[in-house]
């Protein structure tokens, strides 16, 4: 007798031989796709700016991937993307989403080199776990998706910095409450250090990594394919080998950030706890605007996002069950 048979007959005997069949659960109504990338962030840690910069660059990736295509899957996304282009052009910074219902972006990405064709569904909305907003957990919270935890160290108070590991526990508890077991369904988590331009103590190698983002410089340029000559060196990502090299660099940066985070007690505890929870943890570092030179909601120099594609590359890589990154 199998486990399921034994359970069924045992229950029948307990009820005097009468079979009580529970009604089948109703099928869930057809709804929108769950997010393929779930963003967690306290308010003020740069979620909207990060998404703006990421989506802006995603639209222009065919400068480095000639076969790449990106198009919105619904009218709301299309309108939102147009608005992002407007914002970037005029140097506008996004307004706070703390009291808004958020914006859902649904994109189809094609020709993503080793990752092929992917649907990207991501929400810019107040975080139901880490933000202080009173929103309830949305039904479509993508606990199965790779999670990005946006963390602006420059905006953390001294106390918040000391309890980073506990904040991480909040995230894990919220996931567990929805029935996701961390051992059988390990969380894939990219901790993204945002607003890196404002960190004076950042290791020099990481600062240099952000400064020397040739891909971003090319994607930000308005002169199309001339961008390659503008950045002064062949653009990365043009070939599978080049992408592989980029991902090796991404791995090294992950290690460098992890080493740096582990110089803080709370960072060390975060890494240890993540290991305990079987989390596939990666670190990335970004600057969505490139500088804090802004007044009255306007950037005073052009948007200059740095390394904002890295978290997405990690998400794609972690989602991929076919190819695994072999760093060395």
């Amino acid at each position: 007798m199998g486990l399921f048979d034994w359970l069924r007959h045992g229950r029948e005997q307990q009820n005097g031989g009468i079979t009580i069949e529970p009604p089948p659960p109703p099928l869930p109504p057809p709804g929108p796709l769950p997010p393929s990338l779930e963003i967690f962030s306290r308010s003020g840690h740069g979620r909207s700016s990060f998404l703006m910069a990421l989506l802006f660059q995603l639209r222009r990736l065919n400068l480095v991937w000639p076969n790449y295509l990106c198009w919105p899957q619904d009218e709301l996304t299309e309108a939102a993307l147009k608005q992002i282009h407007e914002h970037v052009h005029h140097g506008r910074l996004p307004v706070s989403t703390i009291d808004s219902e958020g914006t859902r972006y649904d994109l189809l990405l094609q020709g993503l080199e080793r990752w092929g064709r992917r649907r990207l569904v991501v929400w810019d909305r107040p975080d139901p776990v880490l933000s202080q907003s009173q929103t309830t957990l949305p039904q479509d919270l993508g606990w199965q998706a790779t999670a990005c935890w946006l963390l602006s160290l420059a905006d953390l108070s001294a106390v918040d910095l000391q309890i980073l590991d506990m904040t991480f526990d909040d995230l894990m508890r919220a996931r567990r409450r929805t029935g996701h077991d961390s051992a059988s369904q390990p969380l894939r988590l990219v901790v993204v250090l945002t607003k890196a331009d404002a960190l004076p103590d950042l290791p020099l190698t990481l600062r240099r990594y952000l400064k020397e983002d040739n891909i971003s410089m090319a994607l930000s340029a308005n002169d199309g394919l001339l961008a390659e000559s503008k950045v002064g060196s062949p653009l990365l990502l043009r070939s599978p080998d080049a992408l592989q090299q980029y991902l090796i660099g991404l791995w090294r940066v992950h290690e460098e950030i992890q080493r740096w985070m582990e110089t803080m007690l709370s960072g060390q505890m975060l890494v240890h706890r993540a290991r305990e929870h079987h989390v596939e943890l990666r670190f990335a570092i970004v600057s969505a605007t490139g500088s804090g030179l802004s007044t009255e909601g306007l950037l005073q120099i052009p948007w200059s996002p740095r390394r904002v594609l890295d978290p997405l590359f990690w998400a794609l890589e972690l989602d991929s069950s076919v190819l695994h990154l072999r760093p060395y």
Binding site: D197, P200, R207, K211, S291, L293, T295, L298, Q300, I301
Partner: protein
Amino acid sequence: MTFLEVRSDPTGFPMLRVGSFGYLHWLPVTKIQFEHFLCDARDRAFDAQWYKEILALNPRVAPAKISWNNYWHALMTGVLPAEAQRFAFWCGDGYRLPTAEEWNGACLALRNEPVRDLHELGILRDLSPRARDLVIRSEAAAELAASRMGYERRLADQFLMRLGVLEWVTTESGWQALGEPFPSFVGNLFAPETGSPISPRQSNERRLAPLGFRLLYVNDSKDAGPTSEGRV
């Protein structure tokens, strides 16, 4: 062995001759220097309200209280290019804001020079006690700031061409800025070593906290201030 001439600007602050570029201010123009001008200038535009607005962007700090996390408060920022030019005009013939090429050229030359002792350079000679205090404390503060950033200091760093302020320079495209402020002053990933200036929007209208300037003196006439020689 290279020798650099040192001279003083009309406010008594040091300028050093850098190669063929002329004399460059040792530091970006400070609030103490600009206050000399404010006391003397008869322009109505530079009144108390004007200065209050400036200080709201980047407050003042007394030389005795300068430290690694506030030394930029000692520097004059928030000025528009035309106001910086007005200061240069007040300083006299031969004083002007550098071009981007001059700024980059001087920065490159100074980056090739090691850090020097302020006394040996001769820049502390003839300084007022307040100015002397400011120069010495700014140097100590900037050294600490560079250490936090992991930067190896060069003579250009002593000039605060890195970890100072964004400095107005003239270019063919108009007013642009060069420099790399300390990230606690304004977050940035600027790389002045690449030689590419940044272009603030509405540069002639909008005051920006990290925008300051320094002057170049290119007139060889000897009546603009005392000169001395210091070993570099």
